[in-house]
């Protein structure tokens, strides 16, 4: 993959000096900058999480004397996606728009480059991870600013009791709260054995194989762990390789221990599976735990979020970033950039993370030590490892490092999950690879 691991200390040195530069050079309300600013924010799943962005924007607007209008747009029914598509077509809409995962690349020609704010922010806040760089920085141009709100990791959320009872694994010992992990043996073999044991115990792992985001993010991480690429960074179809065969074989074994209907799962299925008390492990941000905390406290008390098992090519974490982009047809671009700088400050990010109960994950390296993750309970420390404070895994996105327009198709059409289901259902390996190759050829279209 070639993603660099996040270094949290790399840029601490220059932070203080740069902060003072940022403070000394505030947004100046020039003739073109004053006036109104409209923002399309993602409508957060977590109740009350929107209040943080609302408060931050309001205080910025009052300080800069800019009239700000916020629209919280849900991603239910793809409303966020449709709004972005409509605005890009009409070349009219919000000044700042929340763009999920692949959209900065999709609308590269219609976004104002934000290098002028991203470079100082990186110096100030630490590096961003490789996935954010891959999705947001194209051809040396930062097309959007990584948004704290909405960005998430879809690592394992295990049931402490089931994992101990059926698989003999004490996840709290492997990933202790407040101490470095002891995860040398937490690898894909252990994972498979645990899946088998929990399945036998009547509480299987809940990993979906539909074509929605949670399912694709999950399988994408397994592909990375095996070093399996469908299309390489140059855009060549390389699906017929041993790593892909290995991961499909692995998934075939794993699927025997998953519920029968995982091929029909959507993004809500795994949450429901955990909250219902049936599942021993799901791959999801802490939203399922948060729902359990409200609706099924006994389940929540047993949940423990932690990094992914390591594969032959390393330990990868399924990371799904959101971005804030500035349309190049926006009327108040300098004000938009000023606001994005404000939202990317440490205190702003911390407020967003706190309001989301730890769900949101900032992309800057120096922001991984907020106390909300250490303090979340029950059980105490349940989210300590969610931001991977010891940087044990490479944050990844399914279909990377393929060129964006191809990777987006692989991701959104669930090519990898479809391959796994086909092979599991008895299709010969080579036929599955031929099918995938044919699909990928179709994605090459310009």
């Amino acid at each position: 993959m070639g993603f660099k691991k996040v270094s949290r200390r790399g840029f601490v040195g220059g932070t203080a000096a740069l902060s003072s530069v940022m403070v000394a050079a505030p947004f100046v309300r020039g003739a073109h900058a004053a006036g109104k600013l409209s923002i399309g924010f993602w409508d957060h799943w977590v109740p009350g999480a929107n209040k943080a962005t609302q408060k931050l924007v309001q205080e910025w607007g009052e300080k800069e004397k800019v009239e700000v209008q916020i629209d919280y747009i849900t991603s239910q029914g793809n409303k966020l996606l449709l709004t972005a598509a409509a605005e890009a077509q009409a070349k009219s809409g919000h000044d700042i728009m929340t763009l999920n995962t692949w959209l900065p690349a999709r609308y590269a020609d219609q976004l104002t480059p934000v290098n002028d704010i991203m470079e100082p922010l990186i110096k100030q806040n630490g590096k961003v991870n490789g996935t954010v760089e891959y999705l947001g920085n194209i051809g040396g141009k930062w097309l959007a600013v990584p948004a704290t709100s909405g960005t998430q990791m879809k690592g394992p959320c295990s049931r402490l009791d089931y994992m101990k009872q059926y698989a003999g694994l004490d996840m709290r010992e492997i990933y202790p709260a407040g101490a470095p992990p002891k995860a040398d043996n937490w690898n894909l073999d252990t994972f498979l054995k645990a899946a088998e044991a929990c399945h036998k115990g009547g509480h299987p792992f809940g990993i979906g194989l539909g074509t929605t985001s949670d399912n694709v993010d999950a399988i994408g991480t397994f592909f990375h762990a095996f070093g399996a690429e469908l299309v390489n960074a140059k855009g060549d179809i390389v699906v017929k390789n041993d790593a892909v065969r290995q991961v499909l074989d692995y998934y075939k074994k794993l699927m025997h221990y998953l519920p029968d209907d995982v091929a029909a799962w959507d993004d809500a299925s795994n949450n429901k599976f955990l909250v219902s008390g049936q599942g021993a492990l799901i791959l999801n941000p802490p939203s399922a735990w948060a729902v359990a905390k409200r609706d099924a406290p006994k389940v929540a008390e047993q949940c423990w979020t932690h990094p992914f098992p390591a594969g032959p090519k390393g330990r990868f974490g399924p990371f799904l970033p959101f971005f804030w982009g500035v349309w190049n047809f926006g009327k108040n671009q300098s004000a938009a950039k000023s606001l994005l700088t404000h939202l990317s400050q440490r205190s702003s990010a911390e407020q967003m993370v706190e309001a989301s109960g730890g769900y949101d994950l900032p992309s800057f390296a120096n922001f991984m030590d907020f106390k909300v993750w250490a303090e979340a309970e029950p059980p105490k420390g349940t989210l300590f490892s969610y931001p991977d404070p010891y940087h044990t895994q490479t944050l990844s996105i399914a279909a990377a490092p393929a060129p964006h327009k191809i990777a987006e198709q692989i991701y959104n059409q669930g090519t990898m999950t479809q391959m796994a289901v086909r092979y599991f259902k008895g299709e010969p390996m080579e036929k599955t690879l031929d099918w995938a190759s044919n699909e990928l050829e179709g994605f090459m279209r310009n």
Binding site: G77, N78, L81, L82, A85, W102, R106, G210, T211, T212, P259, D260, D261, V262, A263, A264, W265, D266, S269, K272, F273, S276, Q278, K405, E408, Q409, N412, Q413, Q418, V421, R422, W435, N438, E439, G442, R445, N446
Partner: protein, 309 residues
């Protein structure tokens, strides 16, 4: 010259006024003017998007180059496209046939209920049709839900193992067709009921005098009298069912694999979700020739019967 020209000009203006007056008095002009707001509305909301979709379908992926019919040629080579064609036809034809049969049977039952209680039954039977499909399909999703399926819970009481309603291709196809039939059959029922009420009672009396059995009355009286309404209802439903989006989107999202993708859902997946708007438009436009052929056959049949009458 001026003396001569002046009255001529007045006369011409008068003629014009009279001509305009006559034009305005024509029934067809009044009808046109009254329909004009609707025509404009259709132009803005139907014609413009349709033409725009055709234009989009002829652009390349990044919408920067005109490629003519290139996208259509590309689709012909995709296996998934032919799967979608098959599934759309299977979905639409099966659903319409069952909706028509169920609608016909239920319309007869309702028709035979004494008129006092008929209104209540009509109202109740129309409920599935009047609920927004996205909402009612959510309820069906919970019934079929992998983790909480109410149907499986009931089956379990009879010792029948869990059915993967949405997890297996055949079951998933069955599920989306079933929900479509449930939502659409009341439309057929109400149309057929209206047609039944318009069949003259004397025809049934004459048939009864001739000793016709119940099925003969249906075959020789009811069906011939309802043929046009059956054809029009079937055509209308075929168009709507072919273009279905919400039921599949909510229930299966096109899965498992691509077993329940229809033109509408696959077009959305390609165009909006995957960022290939031209190819998405192209997929959706494939409905037009298929439906045009169906419409031509059905309408030709209706007009032939009309001329026979």
């Amino acid at each position: 010259m001026a003396d001569i020209a002046a009255p001529t000009a007045t006369a011409v203006a008068g003629d014009r006024r009279t001509g305009l007056h006559r034009l305005m008095q024509r029934k067809s002009t009044i009808a046109f003017l009254m329909a004009l707001p609707l025509i404009l509305l259709i132009g803005i909301l139907v014609l413009y998007p349709a033409c725009y979709a055709i234009w989009l379908a002829m652009l390349n992926k990044s919408m920067s180059k005109f490629v003519g019919l290139g996208n259509f040629q590309f689709l012909f080579k995709r296996d998934t496209f032919w799967d979608v064609v098959f599934q759309s036809c299977l979905f639409a034809i099966t659903a319409v046939v069952f909706k028509a049969i169920i609608g016909f049977v239920v319309a007869h039952f309702v028709h035979n209920i004494p008129s006092k209680g008929q209104r209540k039954w009509r109202g109740m039977l129309l409920v599935p049709w009047v609920i927004p499909p996205a909402m009612s399909t959510l309820a069906w999703l919970w019934l079929f839900d992998p983790a909480y399926s109410a149907f499986n819970w009931i089956l379990a009481h009879f010792g029948i193992g869990p059915v993967p309603w949405l997890g297996e291709a055949a079951w998933a196809r069955f599920a989306v067709i079933l929900v479509n039939i449930w939502a659409g059959a009341p439309f057929f029922m109400i149309m057929y009921l209206a047609a039944l009420k318009s069949v003259p009672e004397q025809l049934y009396e004459a048939a009864a005098i001739d000793g016709a059995a119940w099925w003969q009355r249906i075959w020789y009286v009811t069906l011939p009298m309802m043929r046009n309404i059956i054809a029009i209802t079937a055509l209308f439903s075929l168009i709507v069912t072919f273009a279905n989006f919400d039921i599949v989107r909510v229930l299966t999202n096109g899965g498992p694999l691509t077993a329940t993708q229809l033109f509408g859902t696959w077009g959305f997946k390609l165009g909006i979700e995957s960022g290939d708007i031209p190819l998405g438009s192209c997929v959706v436009l494939f409905m037009v020739p298929i439906l045009a052929v169906a419409a031509a056959f059905i309408l030709r049949d209706i007009s032939r019967r009309g001329s026979e009458v």
